[in-house]
């Protein structure tokens, strides 16, 4: 990794955008990266549009300004795209990953986006199937690992499993469901080619 990779998460309050950003960074750190993860703080209301951010690098990260041109943008809730400009600052070679049942071509048409790479994955359906609830943040981690190529997939799965086992010591079914959701999203995320 030559420079710092910056990531922006779009979600609604309560969907786990911040948790996903923290989980991803924590995992990246375990795999040897320097990291930053931080939410955008504003009105914290259930359902309101929220953002969270990650920075990853092989070298210490000193800057502490906001992220305006993320290489990767993730959208946890596709309905946000009607009101929030999720592609703001996204460079021409950047990547947009959307939680939707639609194809990347359909999303491109909806957004009228001329450049950048678009990927889609039905993280909500995967989440309902594997975890039993619509919490798309962990499957989106799988999609992010696949699209970005930033972390080693097997190591990432192993590390996330250990972290979730610690957090949900008395609920092994939650750990299993989340790991399966990440794996499924990793396999199912699709680009335009």
């Amino acid at each position: 990794m030559e420079k710092i990779v910056e990531i922006r998460w779009h979600g609604r309050g309560g969907q786990g955008a911040k948790t996903a950003a923290l989980l991803f960074a924590d995992c990246a750190m375990s795999l040897g990266k320097y990291i930053q993860a931080f939410p955008e703080y504003g009105p914290e209301r259930m359902g309101a549009p929220v953002q969270a951010f990650d920075r990853l690098s092989d070298h210490p990260i000193t800057l502490h300004c906001g992220i305006t041109n993320p290489q990767i943008v993730l959208v946890l809730d596709p309905t946000l795209m009607a009101t929030v400009d999720v592609t703001q600052g996204l460079p021409a070679d950047g990547s947009l990953i959307v939680n939707t049942s639609k194809s990347p071509q359909e999303i491109r048409k909806e957004l009228g986006l001329k450049n950048a790479k678009i990927y889609t994955v039905d993280a909500s359906a995967i989440s309902k199937d594997k975890i039993g609830r619509d919490i798309p943040n962990t499957p989106m981690l799988g999609a992010l690992v696949k699209v970005s190529g930033l972390l080693d997939y097997d190591q990432m799965i192993k590390d996330t499993e250990v972290k979730l086992e610690k957090k949900f010591a008395h609920k092994p079914e939650i750990v299993k469901g989340n790991i399966e959701a990440i794996k499924t999203a990793y396999d199912k995320v699709k680009g335009e080619k």
Binding site: L22, I35, Q36, A37, F38, Y41, T62, L63, H64, C65
Partner: protein, 392 residues
């Protein structure tokens, strides 16, 4: 050493857990709430031996801290903004009684208008109360500085209260990689607390906080003056020793690429990290740029700053707070005063920025350095004091 991912608040709470103070009295306030909330969890789970005093205000929190410290305890607390202001009445009593209380402060704008985001106006408002003030740049420095603050404050030459600050949200809520120490290392590093003049020592009865008028008040302020002088050397010694023991060295200031610099920025807190990136960029283009980070604001490292800046051509002094006196911010005012009477003084300009959490970007810092370059070339000051990034 364990490598952990922690926000600034979590890193400070972790340091507090490892220090395991006798007493923590605190009241929650955004963005410092997590520090005492996490710590209260340690208390509830029996992870620490601390007596946690839940109080009804920050005034009471600092009062309880003073009482516990006077009784001979190692005492810590945390707060921010209005909370620090509500402590104001008690803060100078802590220093006057030579109580080495350590306060984790998260820099946040003062009301009004009410605002929860970062600037330095809260910490600056209590700068003259005899407290040591250390501004941390990131979560790692916050963790390291809280540990060092205990050693500095409790040093027998110093014996003053100390506050370590992080920038609200920018650092307090940003998760970063932190190299922590083992619990046993911290225990050994901070050592056993030595109580001095405990009011609970029945073998040596004494009174604290009594009335002191024209006859002795003045004399009784002098120990703070003396302790602050000694605190400079102690902060340096402690920072050097920390580097020897754990590999991360700290000082009163940090000179970043300043050796042959012609233009520079002076900043405190998280902005320093962003400025480093611009300094590196400029160096890559052959521009002799540097950064002077002021880590200790109290005691004020006037000689060190003078030494760092005297050979420069133009310097941008960053103030994340205004004094509303039409003469610039606190850092600018103090540095100008420190530079007075020197043979060589560079052009000093003041940028009051980032009030209420207003973003300071790489482009902003590039622009400020470009202005320094212009000043250095022309030898003239384009604008002495500016409110940078405000919409007019």
């Amino acid at each position: 050493m364990p490598r952990i991912a922690r926000t600034g608040n979590e890193a400070m709470a972790e340091a507090m857990r490892q220090i395991n103070p006798h007493v923590v009295a605190a009241y929650p306030i955004t963005p410092a709430t997590e520090i005492v909330m996490i710590f209260a969890g340690f208390v509830a789970n029996g992870v620490v031996d601390t007596q946690f005093v839940a109080v009804e205000s920050e005034h009471s929190a600092m009062s309880a801290c003073v009482g516990a410290a006077a009784a001979g305890c190692r005492v810590m607390t945390g707060t921010s903004s209005q909370g620090l202001q509500l402590m104001s009445e008690i803060l100078p009593i802590a220093s006057a009684l030579a109580l080495p209380i350590v306060l984790c402060e998260v820099n946040r704008a003062l009301s009004g208008p009410i605002n929860i985001h970062c600037d330095h106006s809260d910490t600056m408002a209590v700068r003259d109360f005899g407290w040591i003030q250390i501004f941390a740049e990131n979560a790692q420095e916050a963790y390291d500085s809280v540990l060092q603050a205990v050693v500095i404050a409790e040093n027998m030459q110093v014996r003053l209260p100390a506050m370590v600050t992080t920038d609200g949200f920018i650092i307090s809520h940003c998760m970063e990689r932190v190299e922590a120490l083992e619990d046993a290392e911290v225990k050994k590093y901070v050592g056993e607390f030595k109580a001095v003049n405990s009011v609970l020592d029945v073998g040596k009865p004494l009174t604290m906080g009594c009335l002191d008028l024209q006859d002795y008040y003045f004399e009784h302020k002098m120990p703070i003056v003396e302790s602050m002088k000694k605190a400079k050397d102690v902060i340096l010694e402690v920072g050097l020793d920390f580097g020897k023991q754990f590999g991360r060295e700290y000082g009163l200031v940090e000179n970043y690429k300043m050796d042959d610099a012609e233009i520079a920025m002076v900043a405190m807190g998280s902005t320093c990290g962003t400025a480093r990136v611009v300094v590196d960029e400029l160096r890559g283009k052959g521009v002799k740029a540097g950064l002077l980070k002021v880590r200790a604001f109290r005691p004020f490292p006037a000689e060190e700053i003078k030494q760092s800046l005297s050979k420069l051509k133009s310097v941008a002094i960053m103030d994340r707070s205004d004094m509303f006196k039409n003469q610039g911010g606190q850092v600018f005012t103090e540095i100008r005063s420190a530079m007075y009477g020197g043979a060589n003084s560079p052009i000093l300009t003041n940028y009051i920025y980032g009030l209420g959490g207003r973003e300071i970007s790489l482009d902003d810092i590039r622009k400020i350095f470009a202005e320094q370059k212009k000043n250095a070339e022309s030898g003239e000051v384009s604008q002495l004091i500016q409110h940078f990034g405000v919409r007019i």
